[in-house]
């Protein structure tokens, strides 16, 4: 049984004559205990995808199935089912916690909303949750304003874990934190996953974070998954030129100081808008290797090595497959 199964999801916004095609034929499957990383730049459809999984946005086409139940229709019962199984950790721990509430009430809210347990069992569950995210019990009566950014993000994680979800959605959970704190929150997430085995979807643009927080990676560009594979595969041999461009763009500690005239960026120009997606391969205007076929025909998904797929005309399919 897969935790989440998205098949051929599309989502358009705007009018029929001028659609914003936010998601175009996206299929994803997440197994129990699996950690999927979603990488992409702004406008690539990451957030729309997350909203669909959370039941906040409907699909234009395709089906969403959660724990083998079809929840595409988004009926009231479907939504209740989704909220009992999927929880989210937000990017900004400043604005995602109610500043007027005490930490104990913030963490207990999902339990109350789902009608789990009595007041006493909920209180003891909150204390356990604080322990499991490494916060001292004295924070129970504190308010978010008294906590640092890293501590607040831990509260956000505790809140998401409260109802023992089957799937955790993490939207850039460490992006607003300092490096030294980010590493500690990441350690916590990795530890929790090992202990609880909750399936996770982590959205991030930080490839270093994804490397350590995901088993499998999906790279999105203009509403499509352009490459997917295990973390090991993708980081060892990225096949799609966009994935390669992303890797080339990350500055690494220990890089030599760059000199004039040296060209190291692989993606030119800017991301096109979802209002006006280029014909053929959506990446071709920025691709250094684009040829005629890239301008005219949209590439199909090709299996480049077992389990690694890329949407590109230029990659060679795996030997033995047609």
């Amino acid at each position: 049984m897969s935790v989440l199964d998205l098949t051929h999801i599309s989502r358009n916004f705007g009018t029929a004559s001028r659609p914003v095609r936010a998601l175009r034929d996206v299929s994803l499957r997440i197994e129990k205990g699996e950690r999927l990383g979603i990488v992409g730049e702004s406008g690539s459809g990451k957030t729309t995808l997350a909203r669909i999984v959370l039941g906040l946005t409907r699909t234009s086409a395709g089906t969403v199935s959660l724990l083998d139940r079809d929840v595409t229709a988004h009926s009231a019962a479907d939504r209740r089912f989704i909220h009992g199984a999927v929880q989210m950790v937000f990017q900004d721990p400043m604005s995602s916690l109610n500043p007027r509430k005490r930490i104990r009430d913030i963490i207990a809210l999902p339990l109350r909303a789902q009608g789990v347990g009595t007041a006493a069992t909920r209180a003891s569950r909150v204390r356990d949750l604080l322990d499991s995210v490494g916060l001292p019990q004295r924070f129970l009566n504190a308010r978010p304003g008294q906590l640092s950014g890293g501590q607040r993000q831990r509260v956000g994680i505790a809140r998401a874990l409260a109802i023992e979800p089957q799937l955790l959605l993490l939207d850039e959970p460490t992006a607003s934190l300092d490096v030294s704190v980010q590493a500690r929150v990441l350690e916590l997430l990795v530890g929790l996953q090992q202990r609880l085995g909750i399936a996770q979807v982590m959205i991030s643009h930080n490839l270093g974070v994804i490397r350590h927080a995901a088993d499998r990676v999906a790279v999105m560009y203009l509403g499509q998954i352009v490459e997917t594979g295990t973390t090991a595969q993708l980081y060892a041999s990225p096949a799609h030129p966009y994935t390669q461009a992303l890797f080339s763009a990350i500055p690494r500690v220990g890089d030599k100081k760059r000199t004039l005239g040296e060209d190291h960026t692989l993606a030119r120009g800017e991301v096109a808008s979802a209002l006006n997606i280029p014909d053929g391969c959506p990446f071709h205007p920025r691709c250094p290797r684009a040829s005629d076929i890239c301008r005219s025909a949209e590439p199909k998904q090709v299996e480049v090595s077992p389990g690694q797929f890329a949407r590109c005309h230029l990659v060679e399919p795996m030997a033995g497959l047609v």
Partner: protein, 340 residues
């Protein structure tokens, strides 16, 4: 190499509402030579941006420089009056801001914003006659427009002739940042201060912006002070790096040397905390930044430092020579074996 700009032992603080003196910069010293690129790295609250604001002379009113000097050529900037300071902004030093989308005025076109900059840069006050004179002269207008288009072309913006008449809202984040870089360079400055110019942008665009900055700065032999929390960017851009913690420089030296063989436990901790794209493990630094009111005497990192000893609480360790052109502010700098 003689320095173009030298900050010496700068202390900046404010008095809070209870009348307690709070110190944000606790004796910062740094220098930039002509054509040199330095990076200020550190986490939020370490004083990177306050340092930049102090150099630009745009500190908030409640922040006061209590001690130290900022020397540019032969002048102490802290002693200048506002008119003299304004005459230097944009020419001696200039800023490339962090948030491109909120740094341009949304109600004026790109061309209009350049017009004021080119016509009136360096002045604190423009009277009505001065204001209209360049606008009423067709030759002046044409000359300024040509100069604007050239400036936009220099930062590789496509079709600058059309772009001058656009409003900031019609530009993408990357284009806005290019416009701001062009504005920063239009007065032919000696020092560019770039305050995390790419963080608000997507990764591939951020890489383009950093490339462009490096290219423009090197082509003009301009110096640059690049503020960032990304140690990778500092590696790629800077000749020398200053690692800051809680209002002090804790380590400085040639970028490659500092990052390969850090001598201060904070630098080493920071390097280990970066999640790498390789299999290499990472670990965070325990604890949080101390409250500036509670540092007292002693090393500000001592609560989070795995190597702290009694001596660390007694006095502030001075920046001292640790070889290879590096200096570190740690009493145990020469005895510790640190792993980056």
């Amino acid at each position: 190499m003689s320095s173009l700009l030298a900050v010496d032992n700068l202390e900046i603080g404010y008095r809070d509402t209870d009348g307690v003196d709070v110190t944000l910069l606790r004796g910062i010293s740094l220098s930039v030579a002509r054509g040199e690129i330095i990076a200020l790295v550190g986490e939020s609250g370490c004083g990177k941006s306050v340092t930049a604001k102090a150099i630009l002379g745009v500190l908030p009113d409640n922040l006061k420089a209590r001690r130290g000097t900022i020397r540019y050529e032969d002048r102490n900037l802290l002693e200048l009056d506002e008119a003299a300071y304004q005459a230097m902004r944009g020419r001696a030093f200039t800023l490339v801001p962090q948030h491109p989308l909120s740094s341009l005025n949304p109600v004026f076109t790109v061309g209009e914003q350049f017009f004021d900059l080119i016509a009136f840069q360096g002045r604190t006050h423009v009277g009505i006659i001065d204001y209209w004179r360049p606008r009423l002269s067709a030759t002046r207008r044409r000359a300024i427009r040509t100069r604007t288009i050239d400036a936009l072309r220099e930062v590789s913006l496509p079709s600058p002739e059309e772009l001058v008449d656009r409003y900031p809202l019609q530009l993408s984040g990357g284009q806005s940042q290019r416009v701001l870089i062009a504005m920063a360079l239009v007065g032919d400055p000696q020092i560019v201060i770039a305050d995390e110019p790419g963080t608000a942008l997507d990764v591939t665009i951020e890489a383009q912006i950093n490339d462009l900055l490096l290219e423009r700065v090197q082509a003009r032999q301009t110096s640059m002070i690049y503020i960032t929390h990304d140690l990778g960017i500092a590696s790629q851009l800077a000749d020398r790096v200053y690692v800051m913690y809680a209002g002090r420089v804790v380590e400085e030296g040639p970028t490659a040397t500092v990052f390969a063989t850090p001598r201060h436990p904070y630098t080493a901790g920071l390097l280990r905390a970066v999640p790498k794209v390789t299999d290499e493990s990472f670990e965070g630094i325990p604890g949080t930044l101390p409250d500036p009111k509670a540092i007292g005497q002693g090393c500000a990192f001592r609560w989070r430092c795995p190597f702290a000893i009694n001596a660390c609480a007694e006095s502030v360790p001075p920046l001292s020579d640790v070889g290879d052109g590096c200096r570190a502010a740690c009493v145990r700098a020469t005895e510790l074996e640190l792993v980056a």
